[in-house]
């Protein structure tokens, strides 16, 4: 459930709000419905990991990945796939830690 909510929120905000909004989404979702730290982190991580890669592919596939290939070379990566993965991981980490923070804050207020 938490995974789905973060997924939907980050997908919806994806193209028109600044990228760090995913952190707020993950944080508040986990604050309200998060269960355990592990569940919160991985739900947050996976949701944005997937959303960022899908959104990036939306742009990159009609481009035949020409830009992604060039930028991968810029970062000295062997191919655009690596760049896509790093994109997902960075988004995932931000969201995962934000979700974890949301949950831990909720725990702190719970008796």
């Amino acid at each position: 459930m938490l995974f789905l909510i973060i997924l939907i929120l980050s997908f919806a905000s994806g193209f028109f709000l600044p990228w760090w909004v995913v952190a707020i989404a993950a944080f508040s979702a986990a604050f309200f419905i998060g269960k355990t730290p592990g569940q919160a982190f991985w739900s947050g991580f996976l949701a944005v990991f997937i959303v960022w890669m899908v959104l990036a592919l939306f742009k990159s596939i009609p481009n035949d990945h020409i830009l992604a290939t060039r930028v991968a070379q810029l970062f000295q990566l062997p191919g655009w796939g690596y760049l896509l993965l790093i994109t997902g991981i960075i988004g995932g980490l931000v969201s995962g830690f934000a979700a974890l923070s949301g949950l831990l804050l909720k725990r702190a207020f719970e008796k």
């Binding site: 905000s13 994806g14 193209f15 028109f16 709000l17 600044p18 990228w19 760090w20 952190a23 944080f27 960022w52 959104l55 990036a56 939306f58 742009k59 990159s60 009609p62 481009n63 035949d64 990945h65 020409i66 830009l67 992604a68 060039r70 930028v71 070379q73 810029l74 760049l83 790093i86 994109t87 960075i90 988004g91 980490l93 931000v94 830690f97 934000a98 974890l100 923070s101 831990l104 804050l105 725990r107 702190a108």
Partner: protein, 812 residues
């Protein structure tokens, strides 16, 4: 405990987000750069382009239709001139905004503002040499001419209309990489661009080195080694052309004065290959009876391309060609009646004056037998991550004192700039080059061409011309200072009015020729005229080889077609090899060569003197000649103050061909007395040994295309956005002057006639976005030496299946 855990987790998350929004060294802020919402992914352009789109821009007064062809070249149709230049600004910005921004910053000395202290010296130099001072004056002149003023304001508004619509996620990728935002375009930026062209083409000098050479070797030797007219020449204005004017009296030379300079310096090497070709052939020599014009300006090749192709059409004008991103109009191109092209003259329009200050305060300087007040100009240089630098520049009536003492001249700055000297440079003067372009864009005939040229000051350019009326012409044109002969070959005396520029060569006395009997006109940066021209333009020009080859070919040509011109533009036959190789070979003593050297000797003996991609002879001659040239001069010119400013290639050839007993062949560092034969043999062996070491035994590995480096680099220098090294024929002294990163930045051939037909190709593409399909889509065609037929539409209704997208813009 729970609170601490929560606090730590929140803190870590915030730090992570903060770190991902921050630029570390050259690494862009990773969160911003990689996120699909804001980052580079947004710059990936889709291959699916809508066939028609509409846009609303309230500042337009009428309706604009822009048709994009298969290379995304815009064909703009507007109902009036305001809208035309407005749309040109808008469209250029959509493809080239970052290029426009960074080039303006470079010219204006504002790079450090975005890239930090590493660009500070570049900025200081541009400020101190008076780029801003010159641009401000030029802007003033441009704004006084109503047509140009209206054009620049509309163009500026068009660019800004685009910038205002941009969301940060749509910024060109370079802004995201360097982490800064585009700023409003200002009319002065158009002036900065023109100054940058002047700097590229007429901003270097070797007066400092020449002065040191004069002091070291004396006048007789210096005049012998650095003559005012070369042995080999084929001037732009054909020999024998009559000067039908009464020249002004030539000023008298001043009591000569040598600057007192002895700083240690390196040389600002004048690269061979920065130059250009253009020519026009009269109808009497063409297949269809109308003139053909060709132009290929050689510059530092870059991504994005220097030029932006465009068609501009309004009721008063319909013109096609290439524009400079950041300036309105077509700069090189054609319309239904005329076509024109440009190469660099390399006039002596930059001089240094030794200043005598009264004291260390430098408030006064000695001139015309009295103390005169200096002016001061404070340049504020903003530096990213640091406090701004306030740099004060002293001005005399000549211009800025670029470095008034050694403390002002930082390590790594330009070595050709002498310390304690004021700079007099044509680019400091008011000028209105855009008026030239405005008139040419609408030009109907020869008279319009002549009128247009009167507005052009700098960088002085060889304007070639051809018209439907069967006129051809060429004019090495610009605002030339009136000087005594060789005034400015050496550093001048800033105290003596006799060394000032003495006014100007009247425009109508600039060298020019119309419809010469030989049936063609041409230029390739060689001497503008033979020595009978009464005025001094410069004492040295580019070597004559490209010009000679072009003239040889055009002389032989009958029933010329567009393809004859294309073949000539990509010609790689070496006149230099033709001139010197037989003599060089004559001296080689085969009995003293080892096996590799013999093999190489056979290769070069059977070589056809053509610098083709697969030629090994080209590699041997190129390396051999470089060795020979160095061996002759490096001993005599070892002193650092001479800045490796060796005598010209032409003078060295003269030594080889006509003065084999000259003392200059002797290597003064060895006890033996070397002769011409010794040096030729030594240099041959050294060249072959060097090649064997680098490329193996003489053979296929020595192919010219493999040995010569050629790459088109992105302006950031990032390999990922560059072309990568590719094989190509040609060299600096062949017509197809591909060498290092230089070469034909635009090739154009225009067949005049009842219906004009243009052909052209850019070494890149229309788009500046590495994420666009149009970033380098023309590169392959350019590499193959082919041209594309240019789509020149006569009206917005004209149909063509090459049109892929139509954009309409209205105020509603």
């Amino acid at each position: 405990m729970k609170f601490i855990k929560a606090f730590l987790s929140i803190a870590f998350t915030l730090i992570l987000i903060w770190a991902l929004q921050r630029k570390f060294g050259p690494v862009p802020p990773l969160g911003n750069f990689l996120s699909p919402a804001d980052g580079f992914w947004q710059n990936a352009e889709s291959k699916n382009i809508l066939p028609t789109t509409h846009l609303m821009l309230p500042e337009l007064t009428g309706r604009v239709t822009i048709k994009y062809d298969e290379n995304r070249i815009p064909h703009i149709f507007a109902e009036n001139e305001h809208d035309l230049y407005y749309a040109q600004g808008y469209v250029t910005a959509t493809e080239r905004l970052w290029q426009m921004d960074i080039q303006t910053r470079q010219a204006a000395g504002r790079l450090a503002e975005v890239v930090g202290p590493m660009a500070l010296e570049t900025d200081r130099y541009h400020r101190r040499m008076g780029m801003v001072y010159g641009a401000e004056k030029t802007l003033k002149a441009m704004m006084q001419e109503p047509a140009v003023r209206q054009m620049i304001l509309a163009y500026t508004d068009g660019i800004n209309a685009y910038i205002h619509r941009l969301h940060p996620r749509q910024y060109p990728i370079e802004f995201k990489m360097l982490d800064y935002a585009p700023e409003e375009w200002k009319p002065i930026n158009c002036a900065f661009l023109l100054k940058l062209m002047s700097e590229t083409l007429a901003g270097g000098s070797n007066e400092f080195a020449m002065t040191n050479i004069l002091r070291r070797f004396g006048a007789k030797t210096t005049n012998d080694l650095f003559p005012d007219y070369p042995m080999h020449e084929d001037p732009i204005i054909p020999v024998g052309t009559k000067w039908d004017f009464k020249p002004l009296p030539i000023p008298h030379p001043s009591a000569s004065f040598l600057g007192q300079m002895n700083d240690s310096v390196k040389r600002a090497i004048k690269e061979e290959g920065i130059g250009s070709n253009n020519w026009a052939v009269s109808g009497s020599k063409t297949a269809n009876g109308y003139p053909i014009l060709a132009n290929d300006p050689h510059l530092d090749l870059t991504f994005p391309s220097i030029w932006y192709q465009i068609q501009l059409s309004a009721p008063s004008v319909n013109v096609y060609g290439v524009s400079l991103p950041g300036a309105p109009c077509v700069i090189l191109g054609f319309n239904n009646n005329i076509s024109w092209g440009i190469t660099n003259v390399d006039a002596d329009v930059l001089d240094w004056y030794q200043v005598k200050f009264k004291d260390n305060k430098k408030d006064e300087y000695w001139y015309n037998n009295q103390w005169n007040k200096t002016n001061r100009r404070v340049e504020v240089i903003n530096i990213r991550g640091q406090e701004p630098l306030y740099d004060t520049v002293i001005y005399t009536h000549h211009g800025p004192v670029v470095y008034e003492d050694k403390t002002k001249k930082a390590a790594g700055s330009h070595d050709f700039v002498p310390v304690g000297d004021a700079l007099r440079w044509i680019a400091h003067d008011e000028s209105d080059e855009l008026m030239t372009m405005y008139i040419l864009n609408r030009g109907k005939n020869y008279a319009d061409y002549r009128k247009a040229l009167t507005y052009f000051n700098a960088p002085a350019s060889n304007f070639v011309f051809a018209s439907k009326d069967n006129d051809i012409a060429i004019t090495p044109n610009g605002k030339y200072p009136l000087k005594y002969k060789d005034q400015g070959k050496y550093i001048l005396d800033g105290t003596d009015p006799a060394d000032d520029w003495h006014g100007w060569i009247p425009f109508d006395q600039n060298p020019t020729v119309k419809n010469p009997p030989r049936g063609f006109v041409s230029s390739a940066n060689q001497s503008s005229t033979d020595p009978t021209y009464p005025y001094y333009i410069n004492w040295s020009f580019a070597p004559y080889e490209r010009g000679k080859r072009i003239n040889d070919r055009l002389t032989a040509m009958q029933k010329a077609t567009v393809d004859s011109m294309r073949i000539l533009q990509t010609d790689t036959y070496s006149i230099r090899a033709q001139d010197i190789l037989p003599t060089m070979l004559k001296y080689v003593d085969a009995s003293k060569l080892n096996q590799d050297q013999l093999a190489a000797l056979n290769m070069i003996k059977t070589w056809d003197k053509d610098f083709t991609v697969n030629s090994t002879g080209a590699t041997i001659l190129g390396t051999w000649w470089a060795q020979l040239y160095k061996m002759i001069w490096s001993d005599d010119f070892a002193d650092k103050s001479l800045q490796n400013n060796y005598p010209s290639v032409d003078r060295t050839e003269q030594l080889l061909l006509k003065e084999p007993n000259s003392k200059w062949f002797d290597d003064i560092r060895t006890p033996a007395k070397e002769t011409c034969a010794d040096i030729v043999n030594q240099s041959f062996k050294a060249a072959v040994d060097d090649l064997s070491k680098k490329y193996g035994k003489p053979g296929k590995g020595w192919r010219w295309g493999l040995v010569k480096k050629m790459e088109i680099r992105h302006l950031t220098g990032q390999e990922a956005f560059s072309s990568g090294n590719f094989e190509s024929g040609g060299t600096g002294s062949t017509v197809n002057a591909l060498t290092g990163g230089h070469g034909p930045s635009w090739r154009m051939v225009v067949q005049m006639g009842p219906t004009v037909q243009g052909y052209g190709i850019l070494p890149g593409g229309e788009s500046g976005n590495p994420g666009s399909f149009f970033y380098d889509d023309m590169l392959k065609t350019w590499q193959k030496g082919e041209l594309k037929e240019l789509l020149f539409l006569q009206s917005t209704d004209e149909m063509s299946d090459r049109i892929k997208t139509t954009l309409t813009i209205g105020s509603k």
